[in-house]
């Protein structure tokens, strides 16, 4: 599912939203269904729980409440990104990404500043290794799963049947179908290609010449990543928080 295609769809508008009673009835119905299905089916999370993620710390979970150990994260100092794409080159090389695929990308925006002026903004994106990953919920074969120790969203290529439901479910467009494997491929924070070999940074973070990508462990208060997103004077944001996926890639301007 491409974002460019989704954008072409007509906006359905708000005038046909169901009435309050209908909503309550549906909510009840969904709650009952949720009980039967163990709350494990896509989009049965009620809006209330989804909003519950934005606490006093913004999108950053309160200290001590990180579900994994190590709890890997990446902090993007977005305004430093200049789209040199060395991260993408390093990723392709390290993780055998084919020419048509990607594990990380740089998006580009033009932000108007008024008075005819504008500035370019480059936004690095990759898998957000969500705490509540929509891709994992929809996978029919459990080929994609959360690693129980470090929370990385992993792929078991042998189990993947290539149905691409995870690609449609991912709010970040972070997955692609790899012809060579006949399976979906995605960023795994270089767990197999670098972290397992004793490296402390992902390939993209190591290749970045501008210090945009700070890879680290949120359970370690001494890590740079932890320090960066726990400064009270700084605004930290995540992409698409409304999905309730609880992403682990944080954005800020330094």
């Amino acid at each position: 599912m491409k974002i460019s295609e989704l954008e072409k769809l007509n906006n359905e508008g708000a005038e046909h939203l169901p009435s309050e009673e209908r909503r309550r009835f549906l909510q009840f119905g969904l709650a009952v269904t949720g009980v039967f299905l163990g709350g494990s089916v896509l989009s049965l999370t009620s809006a209330r729980t989804a909003q519950g993620q934005v606490g006093p710390m913004g999108p950053v979970p309160p200290a001590g409440k990180f579900p994994y150990k190590p709890h890997y994260t990446m902090v993007m100092r977005q305004n430093r990104c200049i789209d040199c794409e060395r991260c993408m080159e390093a990723c392709v090389k390290t993780n055998q990404v084919p020419s048509y695929g990607y594990r990380t990308k740089i998006l580009e925006q033009v932000r108007p500043l008024g008075q005819g002026e504008s500035e370019r903004v480059f936004m690095p994106v990759l898998c957000n290794q969500c705490n509540r990953p929509p891709c994992v919920r929809v996978c029919p074969t459990t080929a994609t799963y959360k690693d129980k120790t470090n929370g990385i969203v992993m792929m078991d290529y042998k189990r993947c049947i290539g149905c691409k439901t995870c690609m449609a479910a991912c709010p970040y467009n972070a997955r692609y179908f790899k012809e060579e494997n006949r399976a979906v491929d995605k960023c795994n924070f270089c767990i197999d290609t670098r972290l397992a070999k004793g490296e402390t940074k992902t390939a993209c973070a190591a290749a970045c010449p501008a210090g945009v990508r700070i890879f680290g462990d949120l359970t370690d208060p001494g890590s740079e990543a932890y320090r960066l997103i726990h400064r009270p004077e700084k605004i930290v944001w995540v992409l698409r928080p409304e999905t309730g996926a609880m992403p682990n890639v944080f954005y800020m301007n330094d």
């Binding site: 430093r80 200049i82 789209d83 040199c84 048509y100 740089i106 500035e119 370019r120 501008a210």
Partner: protein, 141 residues
């Protein structure tokens, strides 16, 4: 009488129009003279990383600099010579070399701010050089 009035009005209108053209013309767009203001095409550096863009127009016609403001003390005339030198880095700029001679926060915005004004990235490079169009023409996926 009536006819005379009409022709006067028409004449006035024509004069106004002509005046408008004559006055608005040069204000809108002064012809860009390459021998005064330097090459019209952007200078694009691709080392040490892709890519940084420089427009003579912004600096000469826009900011009022002359050729010898930068040539040959900061930059040699031949385009692309700077990027062959090992010290063509942001650190050098912070020390007042190359662009950093002016981009110090006083004369022009400091080199460690507004990165994407000059750093256009691989995407900007492809747009400027037309590599995008070539690529999409070839792609048959």
């Amino acid at each position: 009488m009536n006819r005379g009035k009409k022709s006067v009005i028409v004449l006035c209108g024509l004069l106004l129009l002509a005046g408008g053209v004559a006055f608005a013309g040069p204000q809108k767009e002064e012809a860009y003279d390459e021998s005064t203001y330097g090459p019209a095409n952007p200078i694009i550096w691709t080392k040490p990383l892709k890519a940084v863009v420089f427009y003579h127009k912004t600096h000469t016609m826009g900011a009022g600099l002359s050729c010898d403001s930068c040539h040959d003390a900061l930059f040699e005339m031949a385009a692309g010579t700077a990027q062959e030198k090992p010290d063509f880095t942001m650190d050098s700029l912070y020390k007042g070399k190359y662009c950093g001679a002016c981009h110090d926060g006083n004369m022009a915005f400091a080199s460690n701010t507004r990165c994407t004004t000059c750093h256009v990235g691989v995407k900007g490079y492809n747009r400027l050089t037309g590599a995008d169009a070539k690529k999409s023409g070839k792609a048959g996926h």
